[in-house]
């Protein structure tokens, strides 16, 4: 029978099917961090059980970590306590631990792929909804709750019903200034934040085929924001070139054997999806959000829609615009900006900093904005330095912080103050997400760069003309 990419990977991992219930799914790789794992370890202790395959779990600290002065003790006692718990639990159960100060420390969804833990055809879970990121490699990857973290630690399995399948195809060529982030925000704006709930998405078509691994990770990362459990892209030469030679990828004969298998990981020509959607690349322009969920996005040159033009209740829509201090019909161009945040598991990779630098090069940071540039890992941090990007940033008046989740969810000290506006390359513009009372506009690194040098919402294409000619 013809199968989709998703079927092929899922079916290979089903230990047992329960009638009238979920599948027991084997998990190849398990990533943990300090926030969603401690209660799972407590559960193990209470039940008196061990970790079944400690070599399949990897721990990194990211959500709580400071992004300056990482060599100093963590000031917040609660954060410090969680970091200590991760270290102690990892040690007790024999799990690799990349804590604060470790060379491999960084955002879990950035370091996983960097060290080759993420591989095609694998099942990967983590107590974090943006685990969908790893689907960029043709893996089935998704976020789980703490009860499930405990299940994976104790039995390397979780129990879930098989989701429905959706394919989103985008053909054509992306216009100038349109990045993978814009592609994702465009799709979410079409589908809403619940449009893909119950589905696992495969992204297909020329746009994704031509996209770099970093770009594919950005797109798959945001799958959860349309409600999908995860998203994936069939592995190809781009994928294989990225993973070859990384620490945890197979070597020698094992690599050849793996390649033979990985090359079979694509949707069969006559495989059937429960839902198919198609768009053309030319429909997409640089995007920005104006509301309090990631589905509330528009092309940057557009105006905020009227309540009757959008799906959902008027009361909810008005609450959202009130929170943002915006009105129906407002133009987004020229909106005030107080903070710019570049980073997160969505846009904290080297390409994102290259894009940011391409716009700010030869310009100066606007005086009215505070800008936080946070690499996703030490590898990204090193690349920024080695490629000369840091020099460009420094000349333009910017400084670089140290790796971590930072202002994406503001669990550390990187909080946007109440009432302030932030253009952010992260993934969620929920009320208070970046700090109590903060107001977030999600956008690409190019839009963030344009805001950082003009001090307001600006179409980055206006600043790119001279560079592209």
């Amino acid at each position: 029978m013809s199968k989709t990419l998703f079927d092929k990977v899922w079916d290979k991992h089903v230990v047992r099917k329960i009638e009238g219930g979920p599948d027991v799914l084997f998990i190849d790789r398990h990533l943990i961090h300090e926030v969603t794992s401690p209660v799972a370890f407590l559960g193990l202790k209470t039940r008196g059980i061990k970790v079944l395959y400690p070599e399949r779990t990897f721990a990194t600290a990211d959500h709580n970590t400071p992004t300056i002065n990482q060599h100093l003790p963590v000031a917040d006692p609660l954060s410090a306590n969680q970091l200590k718990a991760l270290e102690a639990n990892s040690k007790e159960y024999g799990i690799s631990h990349w804590g604060l100060g470790h060379q491999k420390n960084g955002i879990v969804h950035v370091v996983g792929p960097e060290y080759g833990i993420t591989q095609p055809g694998a099942t990967i879970v983590c107590g974090d909804s943006h685990t969908s990121t790893h689907g960029a490699f043709g893996a089935i990857a998704f976020g789980i709750g703490t009860s499930e973290v405990e299940m994976v630690l104790s039995t390397q399995c979780i129990m879930q019903p098989k989701p429905k399948k959706m394919r989103i195809t985008i053909n054509g060529t992306l216009s100038r200034g349109v990045t993978p982030k814009d592609v994702a925000l465009f799709i979410i704006s079409k589908l809403t934040t619940s449009g893909a709930t119950g589905y696992f998405v495969e992204y297909a078509g020329e746009v994704f085929e031509k996209m770099s691994m970093e770009g594919r990770m950005t797109v798959c990362n945001l799958s959860i924001e349309m409600g999908a459990r995860g998203g994936m892209i069939a592995p190809d030469e781009t994928t294989f070139n990225y993973i070859q030679g990384r620490e945890f990828t197979p070597k020698g004969a094992a690599w050849d054997k793996a390649m033979e298998y990985w090359k079979t990981l694509k949707t069969d020509a006559d495989a059937v999806f429960d839902k198919e959607l198609a768009y053309n690349a030319s429909e997409i322009e640089p995007m920005i959000t104006y509301g309090t969920n990631p589905g509330m996005g528009i092309g940057i040159s557009n105006q905020i829609p009227d309540a009757e033009q959008v799906e959902g209740g008027v009361e909810t829509y008005e609450k959202s615009l009130n929170y943002m201090g915006f009105n129906e019909g407002d133009s987004m161009i020229g909106k005030p900006v107080d903070y710019v945040f570049v980073g997160s598991c969505t846009n904290g990779r080297i390409e994102d900093f290259r894009a940011f630098a391409s716009v700010v090069k030869g310009r100066q940071k606007a005086e009215n904005v505070t800008v936080w540039l946070v690499p996703g890992s030490h590898i990204v941090e090193s690349q920024i330095k080695e490629e000369g990007i840091l020099d460009i940033l420094t000349e333009a008046g910017f400084t670089l912080r140290q790796p971590g989740c930072s202002a994406c969810l503001a669990m550390n000290d990187d909080k946007i103050p109440a009432g302030k506006y932030a253009v952010s390359t992260s993934n969620r513009n929920f009320e208070g997400r970046q700090g109590p009372g903060s107001r977030t506009m999600l956008a690409s690194p190019l839009v963030a760069a344009a805001a950082a040098v003009t001090g307001k919402v600006t179409d980055p294409r206006e600043l790119m003309e001279e560079l592209v000619g």
């Binding site: 991992h13 230990v15 329960i18 009238g20 219930g21 979920p22 027991v24 084997f26 190849d28 969603t36 401690p38 209660v39 039940r47 059980i49 079944l52 395959y53 959500h63 609660l78 969680q82 055809g121 694998a122 107590g127 909804s129 685990t131 976020g143 709750g145 009860s147 499930e148 299940m151 104790s154 039995t155 979780i158 129990m159 989701p163 934040t193 619940s194 709930t197 959860i224 409600g227 459990r229 197979p250 793996a258 298998y261 969920n293 959902g312 209740g313 009361e315 909810t316 609450k319 969810l409 503001a410 669990m411 109440a418 969620r428 929920f430 009320e431 208070g432 997400r433 109590p436 009372g437």
Partner: protein, 198 residues
Amino acid sequence: MAYDKFNILKSSAVPLSIENVDTDQIIPARFLKATERVGFGDNLFRDWRYNPDNTPKPDFVLNNPTYSGKILVGGKNFGSGSSREHAAWAVYDYGFRAVVSSFFADIFKNNCLNIGVLPVQVSPEFLDKIFKAIAADPKTELEINLPAQTITLTSTGEQESFDISSYKKENMMNGFDDIDYLQNIKSEIQEFATHLPL
């Protein structure tokens, strides 16, 4: 973690008609720093419930003594966003045993089922009826019958059935969790692991 068995729940309900209630509202990230599962109910809907100076916001439904009960009724797409199980813990620890909505976000729903909060998905029309009935009489009772998979507005007798897998239903009715199940098939899992493609 053990939870109370769920059978038939008859209770008044707390209405929250906003749509797309996300997990950052249910429990903001800054309250995720505990290493034990304690006190999350105190911070349920923290920023909708309290001012920055920690005084209660009188307009928020949880601060309105008119409304109470073990059932939370939410607008469409309840629980969107993060995978934090803390959101489901906060709902449970506050004292809710069921959440009723016309649509749930996937991970939140799954987390609820894993910790003993019953997500009850009803039609948009029935959800609207519930909100209207509570608006007319805050003491309106709902009866959620898990064995029969029905939810009833007791004042009018109007009823809908809801879906739940037979496996999860049995778990909820007995207070079992998935780890109990998985522990029992560990040797089968270990055998399976020897035949993985890579």
